[in-house]
Symmetry: C2
Subunit: 301 residues, 2 copies
Amino acid sequence: MREASAAVGSFLLRLDCDTAAFCYQLGFFKLAFCRIAVYELGAMKKLFSILLVATIALIARAAIHTETVEYKQGDTTLEGYLAYDDSFSGKRPGVLVVHQWLGLTDYEKHRAEQLAALGYVAFCADIYGKGVRPKDTSEAGAEATKYKSNRQLLRARVNAGLDILEKNALVDPKRVAAIGYCFGGTTVIELARSGATIAGLVSFHGGLDSPTPADGKSIKCKVLVCHGADDPFEAPADLAAFEDEMRQANVDWTLIKYGGAVHSFTQPMAGNDNSKGAAYNERADRRSWADMKRFFVEIFQ
Amino acid sequence: MREASAAVGSFLLRLDCDTAAFCYQLGFFKLAFCRIAVYELGAMKKLFSILLVATIALIARAAIHTETVEYKQGDTTLEGYLAYDDSFSGKRPGVLVVHQWLGLTDYEKHRAEQLAALGYVAFCADIYGKGVRPKDTSEAGAEATKYKSNRQLLRARVNAGLDILEKNALVDPKRVAAIGYCFGGTTVIELARSGATIAGLVSFHGGLDSPTPADGKSIKCKVLVCHGADDPFEAPADLAAFEDEMRQANVDWTLIKYGGAVHSFTQPMAGNDNSKGAAYNERADRRSWADMKRFFVEIFQ
């Protein structure tokens, strides 16, 4: 019973880790407790005590395994980052994480660990290549431009990362998604435009423009775009063109505009000055992460 | 234990009623079962059996109370519809439901009953007046125009409905929201523009235009707009003006565009022919209802 309760405890813990879902639970626990108030409370208290104790016991045991993974695209060596919860076995959904223009940093690695804690196998792709880690925005801009101006190379690089994730023994290859930030947000859409058979993608403040909008017809997955409503780096014309691309290709797409958010709204290191055009927005970060998780639940059924 | 389990059973049942949240659970139950597979399964099976039986027992007992409520705005008699779950006691959040241009119909009453089943006190406001129930779209257009061309009257009518809800003994007046469809979607935004101290509003395919955009500065609540990305009845200029109104007033707003959805996407009676500009879209209906519920969880904390 202790181990079985630990499973439910862990399940509750995972919800607890998810602000939105936890609040969702909370709302209904309140109602549930209204009922309990007029019923017999003792047994329920006991049940939750068991789960709480089991959960704490489980936290001590849970462990996120992480490792650097070297792989290739053509002759180029790439260095990605894998993360999963090794406290339980069995295949599970996989999530590819694509980095922003600064290349694969601790930021994406932390996101992968967050995804692993939710029960997914997460793999951070490396688009730029082993050791290619821009020191500043000027280097980042130059590096990102190499790929944004060569979408075929960008597609080849991101597909190489997807291949690593899908071949992982813990991953159910029929339940794989891709998420990306800024440059990575553009990249995961290119992954879909390349015809990749993933279940869905989430683009966080990614560039949505495409030199070949007709490629939208190759998109087979569900698309969720999380966009800062005040993002000055996404021209209204590009946003409109993206929506048209989705319409023309009859894609299953949703676009969420977060009011008050500019570019990089999920990036704490972007600071809090919206006037710079890129800034962290705690509210939009929290909501978009929760929106992503709910999207995963739908696509991973 | 049976009664206590019934409370949890009911809690699970409520999730079960919510496709998105249920899928959310399902995703993690799968993970939980991965754990259980390597642990001892018997006790867990027993626990869920108890909850299932208790849930079925509770379904038989649960009851949604509904009643027609006559009230006034000025000298005009209005006839609303109240719904709540009377199988438990205690104050709970309230949700005002505002009808589409056809006036208060069984459609809004059903939505109120769905909200009651989720644990909220729901009240369908009557904007047009007792007995004023347009027979066709031509009558509906004429009636709706009376109010869209007289926003002060529209605000007075919707505030009268809000007053009834907030004074209900079962409602926590600090946790009240308003939702509306089409004409009602416009109306709940006008309610917020009138300075109403509600926690939030959800507009489903509502007209977003305003003759007095400066009134956005009176909006004190969180705003969620659920919009059909292909809605031909919302001019791009009106959509842009609405976003500007929200920006200028520094409102906490979110706009969700559902791909493939036109006007009336939540209305089964609208048929399935997008070429008519108004049609039901099961996917957008399901997702927007789930988005509304998650929004409620955030604003009702």
